[in-house]
């Protein structure tokens, strides 16, 4: 079931198009990766979802209904450019931000205290923000984003600036929120950082969506049928022995073992390759090279250029 949908969204700024007929569809309860290089238009799309700015053309649906101003309290947003009032007390500020999302002061205080306790920052409640470490400030920002239990959570470059420990904590909490039923959108240019936790992705480049779908399918679609074989022993005449269906892409000599990259052509299988290699090589490992999002992105961009 689709929870959030954008159809043919266009956003034009003087001089350039930030989004050109972009459509995305985010399934309920999924973690959706919005990927693309800097300046591709990701943040503009996110600002449209948050109603910070409106689309020039196209439609946006939230839970099946056209997006309404009241929906902001059902969305939690952690922007890329995020910060806090430095001179304000931490607790006071968190309550203020929660109130702006429509929570009552009492409810916000109660919930905040339990979250602060969970994240070990309760003793800093009455401290000024400028006295907090960067990591603690990020915890506060994260808590404020999710405090009002939004159905849709949007994180723009969530891991930039987080140290590995806090980044892991964040990942854990986000997965927990997903399990409780929240739908999550991740936006990042660092594609490697989110591909392991995303179920769906959309690739955006130069204001246009160039690829989207479930991660598994995309990876399957863009597999290259290339295998990596680590082996020990010497064998120089491999090329003469191998059938023409097996193409040696890369060959490398190492200290402990040597490495081969072999591409399977014309529907040949990995078992056939193994059979061919076994008599000659002492195989240490054998695995398929699965392309990562970065590789896929570069490939898709190249392909879209040549068309």
């Amino acid at each position: 079931m689709t929870f959030f949908e954008a159809k043919n969204v266009v956003k034009q700024y003087a001089g350039h198009k930030a989004l050109n007929k972009v459509s995305i569809s985010v399934p309920k309860g999924s973690i959706f990766g919005l990927l693309g290089p800097n300046g591709a238009g990701k943040t503009t799309l996110i600002r449209i979802i948050n109603q910070i700015t409106g689309p020039d053309a196209g439609e946006v649906f939230f839970n099946g209904q056209p997006l309404k101003p009241e929906d902001v309290k059902r969305i939690g947003y952690l922007p890329e450019e995020r910060g806090l009032y430095k001179k304000m007390k931490v607790g006071e500020q968190a309550v203020y931000l929660a109130q702006l999302k429509g929570m009552s002061q009492k409810e916000a205080t109660k919930k905040l205290k339990s979250w602060f306790d969970k994240f070990d920052i309760l003793p800093w409640w009455d401290k000024k923000v400028e006295e907090l470490s960067k990591g603690m400030q990020q915890k506060v920002q994260f808590i404020v984003t999710i405090l009002h239990e939004p159905e849709l959570l949007i994180f723009d470059e969530p891991f930039s600036g987080f140290d590995p420990i806090n980044a892991n904590l964040l990942k854990k909490e986000i997965l927990e929120l997903r399990d409780k039923g929240a739908t999550i959108i991740f936006s990042t240019h660092n594609m490697g950082s989110v591909e392991e936790i995303c179920d769906h992705i959309a690739l955006i480049n130069k204001s246009e969506k160039i690829l989207d779908g479930p991660v598994e399918q995309i990876k399957k679609k863009y597999r290259t049928n290339t295998y990596e074989i680590n082996y020990t022993g010497e064998f120089d005449k491999l090329e003469q022995v191998l059938k023409t269906d097996f193409e040696i892409v890369d060959q490398e000599k190492g200290i402990e073992h040597n490495t081969l990259h072999i591409k399977l052509n014309n529907g040949s299988t990995s078992n056939e390759l193994l059979e061919q290699l076994l008599p000659y090589l002492n195989i240490v490992s054998f695995r398929e090279i699965i392309p990562n999002m970065n590789d896929i992105f570069i490939r898709v961009v190249k392909e879209s250029k040549t068309i």
Binding site: R47, N50, G54, V72, P79, E81, Y85, L97, Q99, Q141
Partner: protein, 446 residues
């Protein structure tokens, strides 16, 4: 709508709770009262320093200057100027007064000293010699005219005139007023408005820049509309300004009441206001002389309750109107830049009309009926300041209403424009913004 109140509340409380606000609010009235008290004390204070002045009298005048309690005149004979000069320090002379032989024709006497002589000494010496010579001349005329009562008759020709200015009120009743006091009030009120617009307008601008450089603005506008954030800040800061102003009025009022009760005991303001002139006051009503009573009566007559309430009401309206107009512009400037050093190029179009308004105000105070005064108080960018100069002199109701409606209308228009700049500007980082760029922002739709 509820959210805008939450924003106003934060903007208000975060500023009012600041130590600098409390210090400024409580210290300023005390400081102003202190400066006035000091000035009055300086003026009233008698010169109590004992001085001895050597007199070299070469004329035929006999004792033209006489010693008083603090100033002693020593007439020296059979000595030369150089002698006296050399022994000046040893004899403890403050100055040497030389009255030349030809004093009648030259009409000049000379005072020599090491330090600059004080104005009191100089004028006292001059007055005494003048009076002495005048007396001599008068006696001579009286003697020649052979009229024994001439002296009394001459004295009777002296006729001091004191001017009372009386203004017709709205209902035709007459009001006592003082031009000087009206001018003073106008100046003070318009200057305070000028100061407040600047002070609090810049606070709005700083607040916007702070939110932008703190990177908190995007977090907030994902919950509220940029317009709500901007208006919340503007209104919150306006309330800080009003709080400060009301505190100043109340505190100054208290200080003046307490102070005047201490300084002017026995002066009953009500009897003073009811009396048509100083002469009608019951004899011995107070220890003050007629001139002082006249001043107090002027102040009392000008400051009746309706007048003061009218001025305070106008002040609050024009302060708010002017402030709202300008602070929307300040907010727009704040949104367009990344830090305060970049604000300069955009500040100029805001500060020029403000400073111009102050100068027009100065000119208008001298001539409140000029066409400069009229247009200055109609054009919304100068009206808050110029109108305040005119109000103490009395302004026709229709002019006041036109000025007020134009101010409100312009404020709404400017806020609408500023909001468009603001909502684009707050999300722009690391970009040097030009007027051309801002013009583009105005044409974006949300």
């Amino acid at each position: 709508m509820n959210k805008i109140f939450i924003i106003i509340q934060r903007e208000y409380l975060s500023r009012v709770k600041k130590r600098s606000f409390l210090i400024l609010t409580f210290l300023t009235p005390i400081l102003i009262a202190g400066i006035y008290a000091f000035m009055i004390w300086m003026m009233l204070k008698d010169d109590t320093e004992k001085r001895t002045i050597a007199v070299l009298n070469e004329s035929e005048l006999v004792d033209p200057v006489t010693s008083s309690e603090f100033t002693t005149y020593e007439y020296l004979n059979n000595t030369t100027f150089d002698d006296v000069k050399q022994n000046m320090e040893r004899n403890g002379y403050y100055a040497i007064l030389v009255i030349p032989e030809d004093i009648h024709s030259s009409k000049t006497a000379e005072l020599f000293s090491h330090k600059q002589v004080t104005i009191e000494v100089k004028s006292s010496v001059g007055r005494q010699i003048r009076q002495h010579i005048e007396k001599l001349k008068r006696s001579k005329i009286i003697a020649e005219a052979n009229m024994p009562d001439l002296e009394e008759q001459l004295a009777a020709t002296k006729t001091p005139i004191s001017m009372r200015t009386i203004k017709f009120g709205e209902g035709g009743e007459i009001k006592q007023s003082s031009t000087e006091i009206a001018m003073g009030i106008g100046f003070a009120a318009s200057f305070i408005i000028y100061m407040f617009i600047f002070l609090y307008g810049v606070q709005v601008m700083r607040g916007v820049i702070e939110e932008k450089s703190n990177r908190i603005v995007e977090v907030i506008i994902s919950s509220v509309k940029p317009f709500q954030l901007m208006m919340g800040k503007i209104v919150g800061v306006a309330m800080v300004g009003l709080t400060q102003f009301i505190m100043w009025v109340v505190l100054t009022g208290i200080i003046i009441t307490v102070g005047s009760a201490l300084v002017l005991p026995g002066v009953d303001m009500e009897t003073l206001q009811q009396a048509k002139s100083v002469a009608e006051l019951p004899a011995g009503a107070s220890s003050l002389d007629a001139g002082q009573l006249k001043l107090i009566q002027d102040i009392g007559g000008t400051f009746d309750l309706a007048y003061v309430a009218g001025i305070i009401g106008a002040f609050i309206f024009f302060f708010l109107g002017g402030y709202l107009l300008y602070s929307a512009l300040f907010a727009a400037v704040g949104s367009a830049v990344d830090n305060e050093t970049e604000t300069q190029q955009f500040m100029l179009p805001i500060t020029i009309p403000l400073i111009l308004a102050l100068y027009i105000g100065f000119a208008v105070a001298r001539n409140p009926e000029s066409s400069l005064a009229f247009w200055g108080s109609i054009i919304p960018f100068t009206s808050p300041i110029v109108m305040l100069v005119r109000i103490p002199f009395g302004v026709p109701i229709w002019e006041l209403l036109v000025s007020m409606s134009i101010l409100i209308g312009t404020f709404l228009l400017i806020t609408w424009i500023a909001a468009k700049i603001y909502r684009t500007g707050i999300l722009m980082y690391g970009k040097k913004v030009s007027y051309k760029e801002i013009w583009k922002w105005l044409r974006y739709h949300n």
